[in-house]
Amino acid sequence: MKNRKINYFKKSLLLLIVMITAINCDRELSDDATLSGFSKNGEIFTDNFIGMGSDFYFPYGDSKFTAFSVDTDEAYKGNASIRFDVPNANDPQGSYAGGIFRVEGAGRDLTGYDALTFWAKASQGVTVAEFGFGEDFFPNQFITTMRNVSVGTAWTKYIIPIPDASRLLQERGMFRYAAGSNGTNGAGYTIWIDELRFEKLGTIAHGQASIMNGNNQALTTFVGVTSNVDGVIATFNLPTGVDQAVSISPSYLEFSSSNPAVASVDDAGVVTSLSAGTAVITATMNGVAATGSLTINCVGTFIHAPIPTRNQANVISIFSDTYNNVPVNYYNGYWQPWQTTVSNDFSVLGDNILNYTIFNFVGIEFSNPTINANSMTGIHLDVFIPGPVAPGRQLRVLVVDFGANGVFGGGDDTRHSTTFTAPTLVSQAWIPIEIPFSAMPLLLSRSHLAQIILEGGDGSVLYADNIYFYN
């Protein structure tokens, strides 16, 4: 937004200079001189690409780069069409076709249009994953996508509604597509597109957006946590009477917070929690209320774990924002059938926290490779119990060595479990835990350390941070 204002300022200055010059020369300013100055051309492809420049096609990174061509043997109208040869799934050059068509240079002013339209057909009846516009690779601010589009073997006109054209003041992303062979048993096919343009149809009505996929979602946060409004879908009634849903960027909507002191929301639907309390984030599109909402339950200021003070050289870190962490297979193995623990990890102002909810036990594994901790003297971790600590509550910390074979089982694994209870276990404060290897007699080796297991949960919440071996 800031950039856009600066551009306008420059343009206004330029215009002012032009006007002054014009007045001095005693000539009238041309009718073509407008404040915007961006092309209002809606045409993209008729028999050639129109006003797109020469460098406008950018295939997706893992797609087949040669899928797009211009076909002069097939046309809905005139003598050429856009052709996409969707590859077979096992094509070594790329398993699908997809990319963006981006205006070279300045974007276009599309505020006078209400739809992207085109004619399409395919070599066989297919369901095309995505057609859309608004993707320019940066900042992708106003993407609109029609998904799972049925394309038959006869030329058919398609209409993709523009959710709110007043936003598209200088759009470069004219067209995008993604088509694979999931629905054709991996067999490739061809799609033709013709007469691709933005149009003012005047026959699109009843736009209705939804956020969070139309659900009323709730989120528990801390001060400083950012959350995103997503699942943004807009539905329009087409002149055919059919309702057409498109997935759209949040930036098409206007957002508001019921309690801006608790949570603010920006133009892109990024929500920042500011203080303890509840705020409901809602949206409108073209002044019409969207369905769905995001309720922020901010529980206040997050208490960060103490920042570790040991040098990197003196630790082997499993999970910490202070140190470089070694490769970890997972921080939650979801071990079935008895585990209930779910991970809802979060980040507060750059501080990443392991958040184990419905915690009974959880395993962290770092077996690829295993850790040789012979130079280390103990393990450190910080845990935090937000809820009350019930009488008799335990927390057991198990350190597991996979033995000489370096893999789970095989009869050479050893482990030691250390149990903590009150008064070590407290509520609402970080609990620093340090266990020297000398206090783990059942751990017979630390040459192939591979797991840390936390046990003793009562189904409540446990945060963990700064898990590392030290000397």
Partner: protein, 269 residues
């Protein structure tokens, strides 16, 4: 006066037309009857004016002959005058055994007229299964069975085709599927986006159909394959049906409630 007549006269006087040119004749005259004889501007909040309008209540015979799904009521939920508009509202609700409610009002016995310009300004609803209409029935419909009594549909519309309305006459030998009808479509707008004027100019042996400033059809005795039954008094009906043989059943995308807004009804001669 009428586009067809102009074309015919152009054809008949071909050479003469060549010399004098067609430019003045290409402009249609949409309306000629300008003396206002009846109007309801819907300016008084509450129920529709009872000295002009009566209600049809219930489900009629076999869904008003069309397997329509709504139960017509006179409740303010379904029909009310508000803010200068008559609002007929179709609601999805269980009501006395029907799945939808709506309203239908008529002027029989209160306003009946032979010939004239009948016109209404309406913003239409939308969605599959929604079927509003502004129409006339022969005032003798109690003694003469339909279709002998005659029916003039000034405007009918199906909510799943929001750019098109149609005007129709029904009479003996040309009713239902054999009725005489013509569509009128907007190219760059829809009938549920804004108000449009729907009307007929009806005189001896002709009915002209217009939407806004476009005359789009004329029906004369030559166009009907049976007796011309439109030289008698007729009365006015306004309604919004839900479902039935013509529009089909509402689907999961049909939004309820749906409202037909009528700004005015005027009759001229």
């Amino acid at each position: 006066m009428m586009i067809k007549l102009i074309k015919r006269s152009c054809l008949l006087t071909g050479i003469a037309m060549f010399f004098i040119g067609c430019s003045t004749d290409e402009k249609q005259t949409v309306i000629t009857m300008k003396e206002l004889v009846m109007q309801d501007e819907f300016d008084t909040n509450g129920a529709p004016n009872s000295s002009l309008w009566s209600y049809n209540i219930g489900t009629g015979n076999n869904g008003w002959g069309n397997n329509e799904l709504q139960y017509y009521t006179d409740r303010p939920e379904n029909i009310v005058v508000e803010n200068g508009m008559l609002k007929i509202k179709a609601i999805r609700e269980l009501y006395l055994g029907s799945g939808y409610t709506s309203a239908r009002i008529f002027t029989k016995g209160k306003f009946e007229k032979k010939y004239g310009r009948f016109e209404a300004r309406i913003k239409l609803p939308w969605g599959k299964g929604i079927w509003p209409a502004f129409w006339l029935l022969g005032a003798n419909s109690d003694t003469v069975v339909w279709p002998q009594c005659g029916e003039i549909d000034i405007m009918e519309y199906l909510g799943n085709n929001p750019t098109t309305v149609f005007g129709t006459v029904h009479g003996p030998g040309y009713s239902g599927a054999e009725s005489i009808s013509k569509n009128y479509s907007l190219l760059d707008n829809r009938f549920d986006n804004d108000f449009h004027v729907f009307g007929i100019e009806w005189g001896e042996n002709y009915i002209n159909y217009y939407v806004d400033d476009v005359l789009y059809n004329q029906i004369t005795p030559e166009d009907v394959p049976g007796e011309w039954v439109f030289n008698e008094p007729f009365y006015i009906i306004l309604n919004m049906a839900v479902g039935g043989n013509l529009p089909g059943t509402p689907n999961s995308q049909t939004v309820f409630p749906q409202t037909m807004l009528v700004d005015y009804i005027r009759v001229y001669e």
